[in-house]
């Protein structure tokens, strides 16, 4: 709440924001409007990110062919490219530990938070639901396609796109994909454009040239990820810095680059991050884990445009916003002062039941 109020105060100057809790006096606001149908209203677009004090996107609205964009999940990257377009094909290329999967998972999570249903064509067979959930992906609105043959997989997801059952398709392309499927990749991209869907294609650097070319032709945004250095605590690697370069962008100039930071939650903490998600959905799985405040070795080179805040923030928060704050964020208050009363205490004083016998 403090962050939201600060944002408002920064934007509106000394405007006074007052909080209050209405009493239980039964007061109801006057002039109630009639309830309106939910379905159509639920599809109304959200406010854009521009104007939230983070600086404007580099793409100007009148040159951007897409109506709205969703966050990549990384603020520095959003500042560079203005988020990901809701339609069309985006290629995310990088080596095996370049952060391409994390970026894609975060983008899926952000899209789902805006109402998208997604499919993941898992040709390499490496989709990890726990990692996905830990990065904020809502597995309820995701289908994973693991086909026996990649051509079948492309047909399956093509059907999902054509029927508009999904809004977002992730194509995880393996290095040794048969070249005769280049045409199918192009068809998928074209179909996405026709139906207003979106494709995120993850490709490692060693894609077969024919497939790589098909992807290059079909995508209107291409991001290349390169590992820069590891973040370590002692000997343990806890994350990495990644350079993201815009290799192609129909809405802007290529060659721009920025740096993002990816934090890896150790297995136990990844599990507890997921537990927090389940807690938000109403299932008790115990206390959430912590996120360590890790001092970084060396300086961070900020390649972002000046409008973006210079400090690159780690961004692996899972959405939705409904989660309670991490207990280890330095500025986070405690969850609140609490009084506990132990009413039945098998202790020194007072009557207490040692054993109990149920009446038959």
């Amino acid at each position: 709440m403090t962050g939201a109020l600060s944002t408002l105060r920064e934007r509106w100057g000394p405007g006074i924001v007052r909080l209050g809790v209405s009493g239980s006096d039964g007061r109801t606001p006057g002039g109630r409007d009639a309830a309106v149908s939910m379905g159509a209203l639920a599809l109304a677009p959200l406010p854009g990110d521009a104007g939230h004090g983070q600086g404007s996107a580099t793409g100007t609205p009148d040159t951007d062919p897409d109506a709205t964009r969703t966050s990549t999940g990384f603020r520095a990257l959003d500042g560079l490219i203005g988020g990901l377009p809701r339609q069309g094909t985006v290629a995310i290329v990088g080596g095996p530990s370049s952060g391409a999967t994390t970026l894609t998972l975060r983008a899926v999570a952000e899209a789902q938070a805006s109402g998208a249903i997604a499919a993941w064509l898992d040709l390499p067979g490496r989709f990890d639901p726990l990692e996905a959930a830990g990065r904020g992906v809502d597995l309820r609105w995701l289908v994973v396609v693991r086909p026996a043959r990649s051509a079948d997989g492309l047909r399956i997801v093509g059907s999902l796109l054509a029927s508009r059952s999904i809004d977002l398709l992730v194509l995880d392309l393996p290095p040794r994909m048969p070249t005769d499927q280049a045409g199918l990749v192009r068809q998928l991209a074209a179909q996405a454009r026709r139906v207003g869907g979106r494709v995120l294609a993850i490709g490692s650097g060693s894609l077969t040239p024919v497939i790589r070319d098909a992807l290059a032709e079909s995508s209107h945004l291409r991001l290349a990820l390169a590992h820069r250095d590891w973040l370590r605590v002692g000997r343990e690697v806890v994350g990495q810095r990644v350079t993201v370069t815009v290799e192609k962008d129909r809405a802007g100039a290529p060659g721009r680059a920025t740096e993002i930071e990816i934090r890896y939650q150790p297995d136990g903490e990844r599990a507890t991050a997921v537990s927090r998600l389940l807690d938000a959905a109403g299932r008790e799985t115990g206390p959430p884990g912590r996120r360590a405040s890790i001092p970084l070795a060396g300086s961070i080179t900020d390649l972002s445009p000046p409008v973006v805040p210079a400090r690159i923030e780690p961004d692996h928060r899972p959405t939705p916003d409904a989660l309670p704050p991490s207990p280890l964020e330095p500025s986070a208050a405690s969850t609140g002062r609490q009084v506990a009363i132990t009413a039945i205490h098998a202790g020194r004083a007072g009557r207490s039941a040692v054993g109990a016998r149920e009446r038959p």
Binding site: A4, L5, L8, W12, G15, R18, L19, G20, V21, S22, G23, D33, V36, M38, A42, P47, A113, S114, G115, D128, P129, A133, L139, W141, L142, V143, V144, P147, A148, I156, L160, G268, T272, V274, A281, G282, G289, R290, P320, D321, P324, S326, P327, G336, R337, Q338, V339, A340, I341, T342, A343, I344, H345, G350, R351, V354, G355, A356, R357, R359
Partner: protein, 354 residues
């Protein structure tokens, strides 16, 4: 003596033959605790405590006491009032303790202490000398603590987390967190905070709905976070605008939600869509947003209003049709027990089928 809750009577008798065995009256226990919880609502709206006698936490009541100083005085005064209220209804001599977290306050109640206000490190420092038996672990784990020579909570906290996880599994990591004062589980109030309201007085009135979107986004996010932290979700949102030079509040949008919502996005969407249909006759000088919250009843889980829900059927049918043509190639995944040591227990893969 080794006698524990839930133990068969024969075992308990064998351990403590001299013990007095009393008849149980769970209905009466439930009524008494319900009465105590209801009465404590007069002290604070944030009261949590299971009324079901079979619940392991039965007999422990948590009260959120932030922001009550103006009503009742300092924390000590609030606690005295709560205790007096509880004593008037509950048998025995209830004990109270104050903490920054759920776990901390529970331990504090056992020793009738007050943990200083502060962050996790403060909580951890206070917990450190307390017996490790306060940690919520099974008898086997406590036995292993003893064998490792861990007798105080601080003994566990001093160990590297990776070592604790390696020796005690993922639950050990959870206990390690508690030992470090890390317990962000929110208090889930028995009754919802009825309404939360935020108002913004604008020094420079704004024109149109575009700048209003920004304000609404932040007000929604802030209020939703408050409600969710209290274990509630939104059922009604009321947006009231006051125009410049107006003598009374102006256009108002009251939006009822089909299902309780714990996220700001759907609320924003709906309010903005309603605003788009309105014509404002002047600049806006004052914005007020009120969210009505509701907490789940016992055993009830709130569903969340999501845009995807409207297309769930179509999605499911399309998947089923494809699964007929391509059997065994479409999968739904879910997280099982995220703390299970085995991968196949942490995640579940279900083939899509009719």
């Amino acid at each position: 003596m080794g006698v524990m809750r839930g133990q068969p009577l024969g075992s308990a008798h064998a351990l403590a033959p001299e013990a007095a065995f009393l008849d149980a009256h769970p209905d009466h226990y439930r009524e008494v605790l319900e009465a105590a919880l209801e009465t404590l609502l007069a002290v604070t709206p944030a009261v949590e405590g299971p009324a079901e006698p079979t619940d392991p936490a039965f007999g422990r009541i948590l009260l959120g006491i932030e922001g009550l100083e103006r009503l009742w005085g300092d924390e000590a005064a609030i606690t005295r009032l709560a205790l007096a209220t509880a004593c008037a209804i509950l048998p025995g001599i209830p004990r109270a303790g104050i903490g920054n977290t759920r776990f901390g306050s529970s331990v504090a109640a056992s020793v009738e202490a007050s943990i200083p206000l502060g962050d996790a490190s403060v909580e951890a420092a206070w917990l450190a000398p307390q017996p490790i038996g306060y940690l919520p672990a099974d008898a086997d784990t406590h036995g292993r603590f003893r064998r490792f020579g861990l007798t105080r909570i601080g003994d566990l906290a001093a160990l590297p987390r990776s070592a604790v996880v390696a020796r005690f599994g993922q639950h050990g990591g959870t206990l390690h967190d508690l030992a470090l004062g890390l317990d962000a589980r929110p208090l889930r109030p028995r009754r919802p905070v009825e309404r939360l309201r935020a108002q913004l007085e604008l020094e420079s009135p704004i024109d149109g709905t575009e700048p209003l979107r920004f304000i609404l986004h932040n007000l929604c996010a802030g209020l939703c976070a408050q409600l969710v932290a209290r274990g509630a979700a939104v059922t009604t949102a009321t947006l009231t605008l006051t125009l410049e030079d107006a003598t009374e509040p102006g256009p108002e949008v009251v939006q009822h939600l089909p299902e309780p919502v714990a996220r700001p996005d759907p609320i924003e969407r709906l309010l903005l869509a309603r605003l788009d249909q309105m014509t404002l006759s002047g600049p806006i000088a004052h914005v007020a947003l009120e969210l009505d919250g509701r907490a789940p009843g016992a055993g009830q889980q709130l569903t969340l209003f999501e845009p995807q829900a409207a297309r769930a059927d179509q999605f499911a049918w399309e998947l089923a049709a494809l699964a007929i043509r391509f059997p065994g190639q479409l999968w739904r995944t879910s997280v099982g027990d995220p703390e299970a040591p085995r991968h196949d227990e942490r995640v579940h893969w279900e083939p899509v089928a009719l």
